[in-house]
């Protein structure tokens, strides 16, 4: 096949060819190594690669399988591409004849169609199996039922069988494989879409208004697991955090007992707190918040009956300290701009009293 002179381009030495792709290599190697560096078991890092509950375990197993297949595919194709780039480059010494004009090959096309089809079949079978394992799992008789209701921008947790209502910090018992006590969550929403995601415990499931969703977790170890809302729900989606406390059975039972009590009538030894309670019940606080055992029975905002049993306020936006509490009531936008808690516009004194009252809600 004769050819006319083609556009010339100098060939490049081999070293520069590899240097071309060096950043790519480094990026990929570094990235992949950190993936497999699992954080320690009690770490707060919500890595999907340190699962601690059966659904997350199943997903982890599937993830490793998928990753190994895709890594093999990547290495094979990457090497071929790299080889082709290097071996078939136009060299300086080229005679500028056109190379053999190959139009295609049916056998090769067949081969590189059949192999991917087989890979897809394998992947699909593994995937379908895990889908069934997680979604169609049987309920064990000792499971705990929790109803999670998503709000802008906080989580409501109700334990219908146990008479507990709390917010943002979920307490569940650890589950062992011999006699499992998994937690089944019914997921609802009061306003827009949200998503419950605690990576170490399970994949995420959405909370959608006018729809009932289900998920389950059975944590293997006690400890604190972090998560947050994973479906954009408005201005403060970013600070709709989740804290899941996995307690030992006895600790969990103790927690349930203390949570299911109504607010202990404030011993009016603390005059400040008593004043605070008056302010609470006289202003619009009671329209949004519930304090069981008092007249406050609002449902728009979190239940405050046992506010002090929680480590954080504003769905994890701030730690639960008196100073933060006071700031939250005075000017929520300072902590969580765009949240639906209104600034209450109270005097300094009233604020102090109110905070003192909140401090009694153990």
């Amino acid at each position: 096949m004769k050819s006319e002179p083609t556009v010339r381009a100098p060939g490049r030495p081999r070293l520069i060819q590899f240097a071309r792709w060096f950043p790519v290599f480094v990026g990929i190697l570094t990235a992949s190594s950190s993936i497999f560096a699992e954080p320690p078991a009690n770490s707060l890092i919500p890595s999907i690669f340190s699962p601690d509950s059966t659904p997350a375990d199943h997903i982890y197993g599937l993830a490793l399988f998928v990753l190994s297949i895709t890594t093999v595919i990547f290495v094979v194709v990457f090497t071929l591409l790299l080889y082709a780039t290097v071996k078939f480059r136009m060299r300086r010494s080229d005679d500028h004849r056109e190379p053999p004009q190959v139009y295609g090959s049916n056998q090769i096309e067949l081969a590189w169609t059949v192999i991917p089809v087989l890979i897809v079949v394998m992947l699909f079978l593994a995937t379908a199996r895990v889908i069934a394992q997680v979604q169609d799992a049987d309920r064990s008789p000792d499971s705990i039922d929790v109803t999670a209701i998503g709000h802008q921008f906080w989580w409501e947790f109700r334990y219908p069988g146990l008479g507990v209502v709390t917010a943002n910090e979920l307490h569940i018992p650890v589950s062992d494989s011999v006699s499992p006590t998994p937690t089944f969550l019914k997921l609802l929403s009061a306003d827009t879409d949200h998503s419950f995601w605690v990576p170490r415990l399970a994949g995420k499931t959405d909370l959608i208004p006018n729809r009932v969703n289900q998920m389950w977790i059975d944590p293997h170890h006690t400890g604190l697991y972090l998560g947050q809302c994973a479906q954009y729900c408005g201005t403060q989606h970013a600070l709709m955090l989740l804290r899941v406390y996995v307690d030992s059975r006895s600790d969990f039972d103790a927690w349930v007992r203390s949570q299911s009590r109504s607010a202990v009538a404030v011993a009016l030894t603390n005059a400040d707190a008593a004043k605070g309670r008056e302010i609470f019940e006289a202003t619009s606080c009671i329209n949004c918040h519930t304090v069981r055992g008092t007249v406050a029975d609002g449902r728009f905002g979190p239940d405050l009956t046992h506010l002090m049993s929680r480590e954080t306020i504003a769905a994890g936006a701030a730690t639960n300290t008196p100073a933060n509490l006071k700031l939250w009531i005075e000017d929520p936008d300072a902590i969580k701009p765009g949240s639906l808690m209104p600034a209450m516009r109270l005097t300094e004194q009233d604020l102090n009293s109110l905070t003192a009252y909140m401090e009694t809600l153990r």
Binding site: V24, S47, M90, V117, T127, S195, G203, C229, A230
Partner: protein, 557 residues
């Protein structure tokens, strides 16, 4: 023989005033000018969208940052996504199709030149309407401004209750208007390709880019329409008090998701298929071989076009569908990866045994090939539904789709720029600047998007304006933010290259790349009438036949 396809050299026309020239551009119906208008428009929005991204990455570089407020951040990610998809990617791809397809098929213009102009201006005004929201979105409550509901605008966040002011309306109406423009151009492209091919150019002798434009346009007809319908429903809900997505009245938030993703998923194939077209034109020329397996490439593209309509709910794996639905969408998503993978192998086969020339267009194609491979593989990971239950809505997904759109599609678009700029302007783009552009962009792209996968694996969800320290996300976010500056510099060099080369670049001549499709047989830039005589073709590479009369392609096809 060759001289018959050459154009008559145009006479100099440089004596018109600025106002006259602008008027010419404003009223043009010439597909070449409209193509350039589309591309120029998209470039402006590329920069704007890039600024929006930069703002986000600065805000996310450290935890609990206060660079912008959450309200501004939420507008940024909404506008960035909407702008990049609708006012950068779609216009730029339609622009290249507009410019090159009539030339490639030996036609004088598109089938409906006035519809062409009308469609461009609809798209353009849609974008302006969307951006007017920054000033005009405030509405009665003083709320609003630019939309902040995310580019997929999930219901019921878009209802009047949750979306005060007019921000959502600007989103809806801006996209409705530009959607009609897209449908118009799609109708035009399909009609042009079906009805205006030159003698001898059967469907099986069309350049692959023309095929890709045909498939993409056919898809657009069925893809943009669901979005148009759904946006109409939002308007009816918001302004006539209807209940399409009103969960309080028994309406469904999920049906919006279905309607949106029936648009949204095939839409990304609408974006990537023309990119495939670019690669399929450029890689053969710079490997000095014909595309490997032309019929399979066509079949694979058509297959992708059809199968892509069956995968949409892989964006909805977490909404609580039953296991049968999840399994169905998992297998269809995996299946669509097969023809896509085949195309990568065919490009590899094209390069194999060739003589690869590392000019800037080919560099960007190589970047595309490596990066699109990775993007496709992370897509396979996401198709495994349970794995997606962890990865969906996280930074892993953001890394995946930016890998496709930036690492894949944008690289292919850059390749197309360097390849066709000489044809459009008559000047070559500067090679040195082109290589600087390429390398800086590669470094920046990988810094940002390789490492972006990791926070997703560590539990970082998307669309958050800030994050807590102590979750292991800080270092990765810093690296991602660092990459932005390399990319920004690269884009500046690119824009500078175009400006400099337009005036000072080397003359290109008709056929600087020694290529084989019809657009290279006419002058650079082509005259208004494209060809002095409409050519007749006998094979897929008419110019190869002319240059190699002793060994023409039609002997082997």
């Amino acid at each position: 023989m060759a001289s018959e396809t050459l154009a008559i050299a145009p006479t100099g026309l440089s004596t018109r005033s600025l106002a006259e020239r602008l008027h010419e551009w404003a009223v043009t119906v010439d597909h070449k000018r409209l193509g350039i208008l589309y591309i120029g428009y998209a470039l402006v929005f590329l920069v704007i969208g890039g600024v929006e991204a930069t703002i986000m990455r600065v805000q996310l570089a450290v935890p609990n940052n206060h660079f912008v407020s959450p309200q501004v951040f939420n507008r940024m990610f909404t506008m960035h996504g909407t702008t990049m998809i609708f006012f950068v990617a779609m216009p730029i791809l339609f622009g290249f199709s507009n410019y090159t397809v009539p030339l490639m098929i030996g036609a004088r213009d598109m089938a409906f030149p006035r519809l062409n102009a009308f469609s461009f201006w609809l798209t353009a005004f849609g974008g302006l309407l969307l951006y007017f929201s920054f000033i005009g979105g405030f509405g009665l409550y003083g709320a609003g401004s630019a939309p902040d509901v995310g580019w997929f605008a999930y219901a019921p966040l878009t209802s009047k209750v949750f979306s005060l002011g007019h921000s959502t309306d600007f989103w809806t109406l801006g996209l409705l208007v530009s959607g009609f423009g897209s449908i118009g151009t799609a109708v035009n492209l399909v009609t042009t390709i079906v009805c205006l091919r030159c003698p001898g150019m059967t469907m099986h002798r069309m350049p692959l880019f023309a095929w890709m434009s045909l498939v993409m346009s056919g898809m657009v007809l069925f893809v943009i329409s669901p979005l148009t319908a759904a946006q109409g429903m939002i308007c009816i809900d918001r302004y006539l008090g209807a209940h399409f997505f009103d969960t309080q009245a028994g309406g469904s938030a999920v049906i919006w998701m279905h309607f949106f993703w029936i648009f949204g998923h095939p839409e990304v194939y609408v974006l990537v298929i023309p990119a495939f077209g670019f690669i399929s034109e450029i890689v053969p020329v710079f490997s000095r071989k014909p595309i490997f397996g032309y019929p399979i490439m066509v079949a694979a593209t058509v297959a992708i076009g059809f199968v892509s309509f069956s995968v949409w709910a892989h964006h909805m794996f977490t909404i609580g569908m039953n296991s049968y639905a999840n399994s169905f969408f998992a297998i269809t998503t995996m299946a669509v990866g097969i023809p896509t993978g085949i195309k990568i192998f065919n490009w590899l086969g094209t390069m194999w045994g060739g003589k690869i020339i590392f000019k800037t267009p080919m560099l960007f194609c190589l970047g595309f090939l490596f990066q699109f491979l990775i993007a496709g593989l992370t897509g396979i990971m996401l198709s495994a539904a349970p794995f997606d239950w962890q990865l969906s809505g996280s930074y892993f997904v953001i890394a995946h789709f930016h890998y496709v759109i930036v690492g894949g599609i944008l690289f292919a678009i850059f390749a197309a720029f360097y390849y066709w700029f000489p044809k459009m302007s008559g000047k070559m783009l500067n090679e040195t600047l082109g290589k600087w552009h390429f390398w800086l962009f590669v470094i920046g792209f990988h810094l940002t998007f390789d490492f972006m996968h990791i926070p997703g694996l560590l539990g970082m969800p998307r669309r958050i304006y800030t994050y807590e320290p102590g979750r292991g996300w800080e270092i990765w976010n810093k690296i991602c933010s660092l990459g932005v500056f390399f990319q920004a510099t690269a884009i500046l060099i690119f824009v500078g290259n175009m400006a400099w080369s337009y005036w000072k670049g080397r003359d290109a001549g008709n056929d600087p790349w020694d290529a084989w499709t019809l657009e290279w047989s006419t002058t650079s830039p082509p005259p208004v009438y494209n060809f002095a005589d409409i050519p007749s073709v006998y094979s897929r590479r008419p110019l190869w036949d002319l240059k190699h009369p002793e060994d023409p392609d039609w002997k082997y096809e």
